[in-house]
């Protein structure tokens, strides 16, 4: 207890003498903690619902039977007639769009006669289907009617109401026969009888999935083996929920990278805590000497300063937790939009603060603060009592060994370069991130030498050009080199993050733009309406395709059909293409560098495939390798003839000839059409003809310009969360600068008071502080830009490549960078206004005289 009392009086209570500075420091820590918590919560929420929309209404099943293109109905019969205590539940799965609200909902066909009791509570089945109350399935006629549907209660509809739906390229007017209570999470699937679903989806003879409930206490692995023995080749049995696990695995790299980006704000915060505790140690040297003379041990001194940092960290954590939860609401929207665009359709789960969130906040906030304080606290514990108690005001300057630090910086930089060449570990770019961290630490060590060099060489020139305030400000930065270096380190880290991510995103964007120039050679593109998602491939009927292909002005129509598959435990997309337009009109960027006219003909009529770069990277497959796919009831071997660049999704693509695929999956309806307009025909006229031909059908028509614009819009939306993280890091740094400048003003009050005695006006004092802030901003921008460029090389060529497999071509987004650096500089100057105001209000009489 005495120690706690002493701690309270000597360390805790004095913190409140400078409430503004304390507040700024705690706020900086809180923001760093909030960002980490927000990304963690949002990631859980965005990924948590991957039990994906299609996992809704699964009940308590154990296994699922899947096959590319659907499971033959014969399999259902086989399983249902086996002498096992199995519950067999076939399902049809797709999506429907509610025309009125444009909401996309899962569409699920189940055997309502056999299974309705599992989804509709007994109380709900009372009342007639035509009544106004919630009810279960009605008459047999209702079940067979493809217009009969059942909806979740969250849609707010009542039995008997009509609802307009778009399913693939067809419009339907459906009748709601009943409303079932939504499960928690409210996926709100539209339910039909399975036969009716096969009818509206035009998928006969096959079901999308078969769910199995095993006997009680069954050994799952044994049952999987037993059941696979009953299945034809190409049809697989696996644990139910495998799709969810695969999606989660696929998302791991995305979440990992985002999580690490969120830690940048913490790194910036670490600099600031280090600075705060260093200032505290310097100011309290006499007190340290006194308490040591009175009997305090070195360990007690160390603990005191660690405790001071811990208090700030704790306060930051407690503030950061609710702040993080609030930020998570925005973050989950941004992340979900990215997940939806690049990975899989899903609905985000709720954001829930759990004991682990609380623990994360405390560990991150307090841990960071105390770790940052170790170095200055160690310095404090070695303060000799006699020296600290010496009378007379003597400015104590932290000893900086600039030469040694510069050498250390070079060594770290070399290590960083070496680390950047190391391969990924379990698909994670661990060495890439280590290289980035080494570079940041190297820069921090090089800063003192750089600041001293630049200030000494420019202070006189600055004085001549900008007046005595600039001269004094420049020299003051060198005089407090230890402190200046830490501040420049903090802000430059934030600037470096902003620069490196800006270059990476700018490069990625330009790469995607260039890629689209090659990949979108057609004049018009068609797909069924609805939000695009990598795992949704609604189809267009063959009759409509033939009609479009025969329209005047249409030279050729390419058809693409996509399926979702699982390959080596990861989701992927299998696409078949029927390329009718001349190959001379295509670009398609291949890794081999070969032109499309050389590669694409090799697809036709052959068991060949082209894979996308992300697929190639994830599964370590190259040109010349073979891969085996379960197609229909067969296992089909395909030879990889080339690897194409693809930035449409991270899932990975396998492309094969459509005619070859139709041998195994007899579903000719394409998902997308690319229309080539005949020479001499106007694109707008052809577009109008297509619009007329598709009137009344939910089909979207895009020009190549529209498609590019939509792709870029999705791209920009994808990186919105990254920009938000950058902004927080810069904000943390600027807040820290404001607090540190305030401390500088307070510690230099005697000097500032003296300047007033010597004839400095209040305006000159104000300008002095603002010029110091401006010089800090300039130095930080310079260091941050160089560091950021170096980090961008690691981001583009190492981290991105090892995480996602994409090749990005380097590009300088000059305008964006200039704008961002200007904003940071201005923000730094603005952060000096409050300290300048305090400086002006200092009473010189109080700070100079020694009576």
């Amino acid at each position: 207890m005495p120690y706690l009392q002493l701690f309270y009086r000597l360390m805790f209570r004095p913190l409140f003498r400078e409430p503004v500075r304390l507040g700024l420091t705690v706020l900086a820590v809180a923001l760093g903690v909030a960002v980490v918590v927000a990304i963690d919560l949002a990631g859980d929420a965005a990924a948590g619902s991957f039990h994906s929309s299609m996992e809704t209404l699964t009940g308590d099943n154990d296994l699922e039977i899947v096959a590319t293109g659907g499971v033959p109905e014969s399999v259902v019969r086989t399983l249902a007639t086996e002498p096992y205590l199995l519950r067999v539940s076939p399902r049809m799965e797709d999506y429907a769009i509610v025309r009125e609200s444009k909401q996309t909902l899962p569409l699920i066909g189940i055997d309502l006669i056999a299974e309705s009791y599992r989804y509709f509570r007994p109380a709900d089945t009372e009342g007639s289907a035509r009544g106004g109350n919630k009810s279960g399935p009605g008459s047999l006629e209702d079940l067979e009617d493809s217009a009969s549907i059942w909806v979740g209660s969250h849609l707010g509809r009542r039995p008997g109401e009509k609802i307009d739906l778009s399913i693939n390229d067809q419009s339907f007017r459906s009748t709601i026969r009943g409303v079932y209570p939504d499960q928690s999470g409210g996926d709100g699937a539209i339910v039909m009888d399975i036969a009716a679903a096969q009818q509206v989806l035009h998928r006969f003879g096959r079901v999308d999935r078969v769910l199995l409930k095993l006997p009680p206490n069954a050994n799952h692995a044994e049952w999987v083996t037993r059941i696979e023995g009953l299945l034809p080749p190409g049809v697989t049995a696996r644990p139910e929920g495998t799709a969810t696990s695969e999606n989660r695995r696929m998302l791991a790299a995305f979440r990992w990278n985002l999580r690490l980006l969120s830690y940048i704000a913490l790194v910036v915060g670490a600099f600031l805590i280090y600075n705060t505790i260093s200032v505290s140690v310097v100011r309290r040297r006499p007190e340290i000497g006194i308490v040591r003379a009175l009997g305090a041990s070195r360990f007690a001194v160390l603990s005191a300063f660690l405790g001071e940092a811990g208090c700030m960290g704790l306060a930051g954590s407690l503030l950061g937790l609710p702040l993080g939860k609030a930020m998570a609401v925005g973050a989950v929207k941004l992340m979900s939009s990215t997940v939806q665009s690049l990975y899989v359709s899903s609905r985000p789960g709720p954001i829930t603060l759990t004991p682990s969130s609380f623990a994360l906040a405390i560990v991150v906030g307090m841990g960071l603060a105390m770790a940052s304080a170790i170095s200055p606290a160690r310095e404090a514990m070695f303060v000799p009592p006699a020296e600290a108690m010496a009378r007379g005001r003597r400015e104590f300057r932290a000893r900086l060994n600039k030469t040694r630090d510069l050498i250390l910086a070079l060594v770290l930089a070399v290590l960083a370069v070496a680390a950047s060449f190391a391969p990924a570990i379990a698909g994670k770019p661990v060495f890439g991130y280590a290289a980035a961290l080494l570079l940041i630490i190297a820069a921090a060590h090089a800063i003192p030498a750089l600041v001293a060099f630049l200030s000494r060489r420019t202070s006189k020139a600055l004085g001549k050009v900008f007046g005595v305030e600039a001269l004094l400000a420049s020299q003051s930065l060198v005089a407090s080199l230890g402190r200046t270096s830490v501040l420049v380190g903090a802000l430059s880290t934030a600037v470096a993050m902003m620069t490196s991510v800006g270059i990476m995103v700018g490069s990625f964007r330009q790469t995607v733009v260039n890629w689209m120039d090659m990949e979108l050679p057609a004049d018009l593109y068609l797909r069924p309406a609805g939000d695009p998602a990598p795992d949704r491939h609604p189809t267009i009927s063959l009759e409509l395709v033939d009609e479009i292909a025969n329209l005047p002005g249409v030279a050729a129509v390419d058809r693409l059909r996509a399926y979702e598959i699982s390959f080596e435990g990861m989701p992927a997309t299998l696409a078949s293409v029927d390329l009718r337009a001349p190959d001379s009109r295509r670009g398609t960027d291949f890794v081999s560098g070969r032109p499309a006219r050389e590669v694409l003909p090799k697809l036709r009529g052959q068991y060949n495939a082209i894979i996308s770069e992300p697929f190639s990277y994830k599964h370590r497959l190259r040109t010349g390798d073979w891969l085996t796919l379960p197609l229909g009831e067969s296992q089909v071997r395909l030879k990889i003839i080339d690897v194409s660049y693809d930035y449409g999704s991270e899932r990975g693509y396998i492309v094969m000839d459509r005619d070859m695929l139709l041998k195994f999956l007899p579903d000719p309806a394409p998902s997308n059409l690319a229309v080539f307009v005949a020479p001499g025909s106007a694109v707008e006229e052809v577009r109008e003809r297509i619009r007329e031909a598709t009137a009344g059908r939910p089909i979207l028509i895009f020009s190549d310009r529209d498609l590019r614009a939509e792709a870029i819009r999705i791209f920009d939306r994808t990186f919105a969360i990254t920009y938000a993280l950058e902004a927080v890091a810069v904000l943390v740094a600027v807040i820290g600068i404001a607090g540190a400048l305030l401390a500088l003003v307070i510690d230099r009050r005697r000097e500032l008071g003296l300047l007033r005695f010597l004839g400095a006006s209040t305006g000159q004092i104000r300008r002095l502080i603002l010029v110091e802030a401006g010089l800090l901003g300039l130095l930080a921008n310079l260091v941050g830009f160089v560091l950021g460029y170096s980090l961008s090389l690691i981001l583009v060529f190492v981290i991105n490549k090892q995480s996602f497999g994409w090749t990005i071509r380097f590009h300088w987004p000059v305008t964006v960078l200039l704008g961002a650096l200007t904003v940071v500089y201005l923000a730094t100057v603005v952060s000096g206004f409050y300290p300048a105001w305090i400086a002006v209000r200092l009473n010189p009489l109080e700070v100079v005289h020694e009576e």
Binding site: G392, R393, E395, G463, G467, V468, L471, L472, Q475, S476, V478, A479, R750, E751, L754, L755, R756, F757, L758, G759, A760, S761, T762, Q764, P844, L845, V848, H849, E850, E851
Partner: protein, 225 residues
């Protein structure tokens, strides 16, 4: 006309809710070139008197006139201009900026005033205090006496009408302090600048033309030599 004139000056402070009467009806005049020592115990009001004389503070009542300008109604900018032109300060602990060399410290008042040829004036001022070979040294490279001479040079560089010195030898040994005082006295008479010096030291007081003894905010005695 006196360079400095205080007429019935009272100065009250409020410290932690308590009223403190620092000066109680002080009246005095200082002529150009006069060297005045203000003596008295700690807390008698010496520093307060210097602050009022240097237009760093205002009297609670009464008036302070510096070279014909009454300071009572001056705003901050006017006070600053007055100090730049007419007042020089010398402090007990020298108060040099450790980031500037000796000559840079000396030219600082001129730079703050935006005066041209600050460097030339500073070098000249350095010669007055016989430190012309040490202009490029930093304060930590100078002895205490040398630092105080630099401070004196800085106080004189802009040719003020009055120098206010607060215990200028307080941090110096006897011999060094004596040297510094001699410089101060010599330059005061040579430049025609009035000097008002607050001091505990009897030796310092002995060098002055006039000794004003303060006690509890009142002038107890004025001795002219």
């Amino acid at each position: 006309m006196p360079i400095l004139s205080l007429h019935d000056v009272r100065k009250e402070y409020l410290t932690d809710g308590q009223r403190v009467l620092a000066l109680n009806g002080v009246t005095m005049e200082v002529a150009a070139g006069e060297f005045v020592a203000i003596v008295g115990r700690s807390g008698c009001g010496k520093s307060t008197l210097l602050n009022l004389a240097g237009a760093m503070d205002f009297p609670t009542s009464g008036s302070v006139t510096v070279d014909g300008v009454c300071t009572t109604n001056l705003n901050d900018a006017e006070q600053t201009r007055l100090r730049r032109k007419k007042v020089g300060f010398v402090f007990q602990s020298f108060q040099l900026l450790h980031t500037l060399t000796a000559v840079e410290n000396i030219e600082l008042p001129l730079l703050l005033a935006g005066e041209p040829r600050a460097r030339e004036a500073a070098i000249e001022s350095l010669k007055w205090v016989e430190l012309d070979g040490l202009g490029d040294r930093f304060p930590h490279q100078l002895s205490g006496g040398q630092m105080q001479r630099v401070a004196i040079a800085r106080a004189l560089v802009h040719a003020p009408k009055i120098i206010l010195a607060d215990e200028p030898t307080g941090n110096l040994d006897t011999i060094t302090g004596g040297v510094v005082l001699e410089f101060l006295q010599r330059l005061t008479h040579a430049k025609g600048t009035a000097t008002v010096m607050a001091t505990h030291s009897q030796e310092a007081a002995n060098l002055s033309d006039t000794v004003v003894r303060l006690r509890d905010g009142n002038i107890e005695e004025v001795t002219r030599r």
